[in-house]
């Protein structure tokens, strides 16, 4: 298969999910302005970080004037899953140049990873062909994401406060939370974290957040160990 075929396939495979991605990008743009960021910063966070869930979290915490350390750590914890994708993809990109792999790393998203790794199953694709496919999916995510962030940020500045659009931010977290709970251990992790963050809310420097998150993870791991799957 020629490389152009892989490009076309990548775009074709990923496009159906774009209707779900674009509203998310719009929300990120709007949320950024709701948190007091200007359009340039909103765009900056989408281009420099390019990871939706962590962007929304960072934006929410910026709006709460959380300490920089907490914001950065929270964002990195949310993005920790990319470690697994990184490990998984490295096997497929053997022998390819460092610059190309850096580009691949930058474009890494759940979706580009998921589609690519599925595509690679049982195929005879060479490493360069796999990279081409992956980059096509990555860029198909990247372009609409940036555009929708810009549009969201531009629109967001014109929205009146009475609309309570700031509520969209916790709704995004809820939308990410509910599907992430697949079994009782997950539920235990979520319940522990949710409970603790509220109980410990009086702590300074937004410490309730990392404490609750770590406790939630610990609770999940402990619960899982007791309950044979």
């Amino acid at each position: 298969m020629a490389h152009s075929e892989h490009i076309r396939q990548g775009i074709k495979d990923l496009s159906p999910i774009l209707p779900g991605v674009i509203p998310f990008g719009l929300i990120v743009g709007v949320a950024a302005t709701e948190a007091g960021m200007d359009v340039a910063h909103a765009v900056g966070i989408s281009t420099i970080v390019f990871a939706g869930a962590s962007q929304v979290a960072a934006i929410a915490l910026i709006g709460q004037n959380a300490p920089v350390v907490v914001i950065v750590l929270t964002a990195l914890i949310i993005n920790a899953r990319f470690l697994m994708y990184s490990a998984s993809l490295s096997a497929h990109f053997a022998g390819l140049s460092i610059p190309r792999r850096m580009f691949a790393a930058y474009l890494m998203t759940d979706q580009a990873y998921a589609f690519s790794i599925t595509r690679y199953q049982g195929t005879e694709m060479t490493a360069p062909e796999k990279m081409t496919y992956y980059l096509a999916t990555g860029l198909t995510m990247w372009v609409p994401w940036q555009i929708s962030t810009i549009v969201g940020a531009a629109l967001g500045t014109g929205v009146p406060d009475e609309w309570q659009l700031d509520f969209a931010i916790p709704l995004v977290f809820l939308a990410l939370l509910v599907p992430s709970i697949r079994d009782r251990a997950d539920a235990m992790a979520a319940a522990t974290a949710g409970f603790l963050v509220v109980v410990a809310a009086g702590l300074p420097y937004n410490l309730a957040l990392p404490i609750a998150a770590v406790a939630g993870i610990a609770a999940g791991v402990t619960f899982e160990r007791r309950e044979p799957a």
């Binding site: 509203p23 790393a105 309570q164 990410l176 939370l177 509910v178 599907p179």
Partner: protein, 100 residues
């Protein structure tokens, strides 16, 4: 600060992809903890807005954001759609605000 998040995230993404295929096995213990990150962190991020929107814990029916959140949770569970969760949550809040 955004640069720090960007740099850190890039480092995470690049870290293992850089080690070309030496081993794509990920330590089991880390993997076990990793899967609880989404439920824990999203719950920690979401909970205050619904349970204490005015910085005081309020689980009464007076807390419209909590009620709207319950509706949104059901929609999230049924549709698994970010879009519909947000739409239903916002719509519920506006409707409750208007009626009550």
């Amino acid at each position: 600060m955004i640069a720090a998040i960007g740099a850190g995230t890039f480092a995470i993404r690049f870290s293992l992809i850089a080690l070309s295929g030496r081993s794509d096995r990920f330590p089991a213990a880390a993997q076990r903890a990793l899967r609880f990150i989404p439920p824990a962190i999203f719950a920690a991020l979401a909970a205050p807005a619904f349970l204490m929107p005015d910085d005081v814990i309020d689980v009464s029916p007076d807390n419209l954001r909590l009620l709207a959140g319950i509706v949104a949770s059901l929609i999230a569970w049924k549709t698994r759609s970010v879009l519909w969760t947000i739409v239903s949550g916002m719509a519920s809040l506006w409707i409750l605000d208007a009626i009550l």
